[in-house]
C-alpha cells in the first residue's frame, strides 16, 4: 500500500514542466529514429531463421519469408563435431567472461572510492594517468603486452585474459565520476558510527552507485564476450566459445546457414545480459529515495 502511494508521488513529480505538445513531438522523433537503430537487430534475427535459398538470394531481403530452424539444426550438428566437446568452450567463456567482468567491477570500484572520496598524496597523478591511458591506441600496445604476459608466465592460461581486463581504464573512470557525486555527509556519518573504510565502500558507497556498476558490467561483459583469446591462448581446451563460433563462421559458403545462427547467438547473449542489467537499474531507483 505504502509503495503504491510513493509510486504515484513520483509520477506526479515527473509531470513537472512537461507540455503535451513537447511530449508528442519528442516521442514522434523517437519512433522514427528507433526504426533505423533497430535495423541490425531485425536483420540478424531474420537471417538466423532464413532457409539457405533465402540467405543466398540476390538482391538480399531483410525480412524472412519462410522461417525455419534449419540453421540451428546445422549449427548443432557442427558443434557436435568440434575438436573438444562444445561444453568445454562454454565453460571457458563462463570463467573468462564471468571473472573478467566481476573482478573488474570490484577492482575498479575499490580503487575509484579513495580517488573520489579520500585525500592523499598522489591522488591527482594516479587518476590522470588512468584517464590518459584510455586515449592511447591499444593496437600498438599489444606487442609489449604480449611480451609482459610471457614474462609473467601467464601465457596460455585464463589469467592472460582475466588479469589485464581487471585493470581497464574505463571502469575506474566511470566509477570515480559517479562516486564523486555522493554527499560527503553520508560517508562521514558512517565513520562516526565506527565503520571501517572497506565497510563504508561496500555497504554505503556501492549500493548508492548501483546504476554505475550495472552499466560498467554491461560494457565489460560485452568486451570480454567479444574476446576470442587467440593471441594468448594456444590450447584448444582453454579457448572461449566466441572463438569456436567464429571458426564455424570461417567455413564460408558451405556453413552460411550455421553462420547466420552463430551471428544470432553471438548477439543474443550480450543483449539478454544488457536487458537484465538495464531493468535492474530501474528497479533500484524506484525503491530508494536516494541522496537526501
Amino acid at each position: 500500500m505504502k509503495t503504491k502511494r510513493r509510486f504515484r508521488l513520483r509520477l506526479g513529480r515527473r509531470k513537472l514542466n512537461r507540455s503535451a505538445a513537447g511530449n508528442s513531438l519528442l516521442f514522434a522523433l523517437m519512433a522514427v529514429c528507433a526504426v533505423f537503430m533497430a535495423l541490425p537487430l531485425v536483420m540478424i534475427a531474420n537471417n538466423a531463421f532464413k532457409p539457405l535459398d533465402e540467405i543466398f538470394q540476390y538482391p538480399p531481403k531483410i525480412f524472412v519469408r519462410n522461417p525455419s530452424l534449419d540453421n540451428f539444426v546445422s549449427l548443432f550438428a557442427v558443434m557436435n563435431d568440434s575438436w573438444v566437446p562444445f561444453s568445454r568452450y562454454i565453460l571457458n567463456t563462463l570463467i573468462i567472461t564471468g571473472l573478467g567482468t566481476v573482478g573488474h567491477v570490484i577492482c575498479a570500484s575499490l580503487a575509484a572510492y579513495p580517488l573520489a572520496k579520500h585525500d592523499f598524496p598522489g591522488k591527482k597523478f594516479l587518476f590522470n594517468m588512468v584517464v590518459l591511458s584510455i586515449m592511447f591506441s591499444w593496437t600498438v600496445t599489444q606487442i609489449p603486452n604480449y611480451m609482459i604476459i610471457s614474462w609473467l608466465h601467464i601465457n596460455n592460461t585464463y589469467l592472460a585474459l582475466i588479469l589485464p581486463a581487471w585493470s581497464f581504464g574505463l571502469g575506474l573512470y566511470l566509477m570515480k565520476q559517479f562516486m564523486e557525486q555522493l554527499p560527503m555527509s553520508l560517508i562521514e556519518s558512517a565513520r562516526l558510527d565506527g565503520a571501517k573504510e572497506f565497510r563504508i565502500f561496500w555497504s554505503i558507497c556501492m549500493p548508492n552507485v548501483k546504476p554505475a556498476w550495472l552499466t560498467l558490467a554491461i560494457f565489460q561483459f560485452q568486451q570480454m564476450w567479444g574476446n576470442t583469446g587467440s593471441l594468448f591462448l594456444r590450447s584448444e581446451s582453454l579457448k572461449p566459445m566466441q572463438y569456436a563460433l567464429q571458426q564455424i563462421t570461417a567455413g564460408g559458403a558451405a556453413r552460411a546457414g550455421a553462420a547466420a545462427a552463430v551471428a544470432f547467438v553471438i548477439a543474443l547473449i550480450p543483449i539478454v545480459f544488457f536487458f537484465v542489467c538495464q531493468s535492474s537499474i530501474l528497479e533500484t531507483m524506484a525503491q530508494s529515495g536516494m541522496k537526501e
Binding site: 513537472l16 592523499f120 559517479f178
Partner: protein
C-alpha cells in the same frame, strides 16, 4: 625537510586508501603503464617484429611530418571526422538519453536496447553494405532511382567524393554507445527533489530544467562522456575499413588509425606505427583539455 616529513605522515595516514588502490593499480602498472611506455620508446626505433628494435631517434616523427603524404590525408580526414561526429554524437547521446529517461520500466529498458543496438550487434555494418550497395539493388540507390533523384546507380563507397560523408553518417548512426549508457545511468542519480525546488524557483519548461538543473547535476558524467567521445571520434577505423576498404579509393576514407593499422598489421613497421599512435594520443589529450574547459561552463 618539514615538508617531506608531513608528506610522509600524510602517506602513512592514508594507508587505508593505498590498500584499496593497490589491486587495481598493480595490474594497471603491468598491463597498461608498461606497455604504453614501451610503445612510446618503440616510436624512436625501427622495429619489424623479427629483429631487435634499432634506435633511430626522431626519424619516424620526421618521416611522419615531412615525407608521408598519406598521413597528411589521414590526419585531415580524422580532423574532419572528429570535428563533425564528435560534438554531434555527444549531443545525440545526451538528447536520446534524456528523452528515454521520460519513460518507465520495461519500455525504458527496451528503448535503451533499441538505441544501443548498433553498438551491441557485432555485425552492424552489414546493414550498411546492403543499403550502400553500388548496384541498383542497394537500398539507397533503389530509393533514389525510384523517386528520380538520380538516373544511374551510384558506387557510393568507390567514389572519392562520397566516401567521407557516408562514413560520417554511418558513424553518427553508431554513436549511441558508451557515453549514451553513462548518461542514462547518470540521469537516474539526479536527486528528484532538485526538480521540485527548481519548479518553485520559477523554472518554466523542460529546456530550462535541462540546462539549469539536470546538466549541472550530472557534470561528472558529462566529463566522462566527453573523454569517451574523443577516443571514439579520433580513433574511427573499423567502419572505414569495413565499408570503404583499407586502403580506400585514393585514400578518401583513410584515418590516422587505418594508417596505423596499415603499418602495424600489413607492413610490420611497429616503430612507425608507435609514432603514429603517439601523435594520435597527443591530439586526443589536447582536444580533451579544450573540451573540459568548455564543459566547466555548463549551467552558467
Amino acid at each position: 625537510m618539514k615538508n617531506s616529513y608531513s608528506l610522509k605522515a600524510r602517506m602513512a595516514a592514508s594507508k587505508a586508501s593505498y590498500a584499496m588502490l593497490a589491486p587495481y593499480f598493480i595490474l594497471f602498472f603491468f598491463f597498461t603503464v608498461l606497455p604504453v611506455v614501451a610503445s612510446v620508446f618503440l616510436s624512436f626505433t625501427y622495429f619489424n617484429m623479427l629483429e631487435a628494435p634499432r634506435f633511430i631517434g626522431w626519424a619516424n616523427y620526421a618521416k611522419l611530418a615531412l615525407e608521408d603524404d598519406i598521413f597528411l590525408i589521414a590526419f585531415k580526414n580524422t580532423l574532419i571526422f572528429a570535428v563533425i561526429t564528435g560534438p554531434v554524437s555527444y549531443f545525440l547521446c545526451l538528447l536520446f538519453a534524456w528523452i528515454i529517461n521520460e519513460f518507465k520500466g520495461k519500455t525504458r529498458a527496451l528503448l535503451t536496447l533499441v538505441f544501443y543496438a548498433p553498438s551491441i550487434c557485432g555485425q552492424a555494418f552489414l546493414v550498411w553494405t546492403i543499403i550502400l550497395s553500388g548496384d541498383r539493388y542497394g537500398y539507397l540507390n533503389g530509393f533514389l532511382l525510384r523517386w528520380g533523384f538520380i538516373n544511374n546507380a551510384v558506387l557510393w563507397m568507390q567514389t572519392e567524393g562520397y566516401v567521407l560523408p557516408v562514413l560520417i553518417v554511418v558513424q553518427l548512426w553508431l554513436s549511441l554507445g558508451t557515453g549514451f549508457l553513462a548518461f542514462i545511468a547518470g540521469l537516474q542519480t539526479v536527486d528528484p527533489t532538485l526538480y521540485e525546488a527548481a519548479a518553485v524557483d520559477g523554472i518554466k519548461n523542460r529546456w530550462q530544467e535541462l540546462w539549469f538543473v539536470t546538466l549541472p547535476a550530472m557534470k561528472p558524467q558529462l566529463m566522462f562522456g566527453a573523454v569517451m567521445q574523443i577516443t571514439q571520434s579520433f580513433a574511427i577505423s573499423d567502419i572505414s575499413i569495413q565499408l570503404a576498404g583499407n586502403p580506400s579509393v585514393n585514400y578518401s576514407g583513410a584515418t590516422i588509425v587505418t594508417h596505423l593499422l596499415d603499418y602495424s598489421t600489413i607492413r610490420f613497421d611497429m616503430g612507425y606505427a608507435s609514432a603514429i599512435a603517439t601523435v594520435l594520443f597527443l591530439l586526443m589529450v589536447g582536444s580533451n583539455k579544450l573540451v573540459q574547459r568548455v564543459l566547466r561552463r555548463v549551467g552558467e
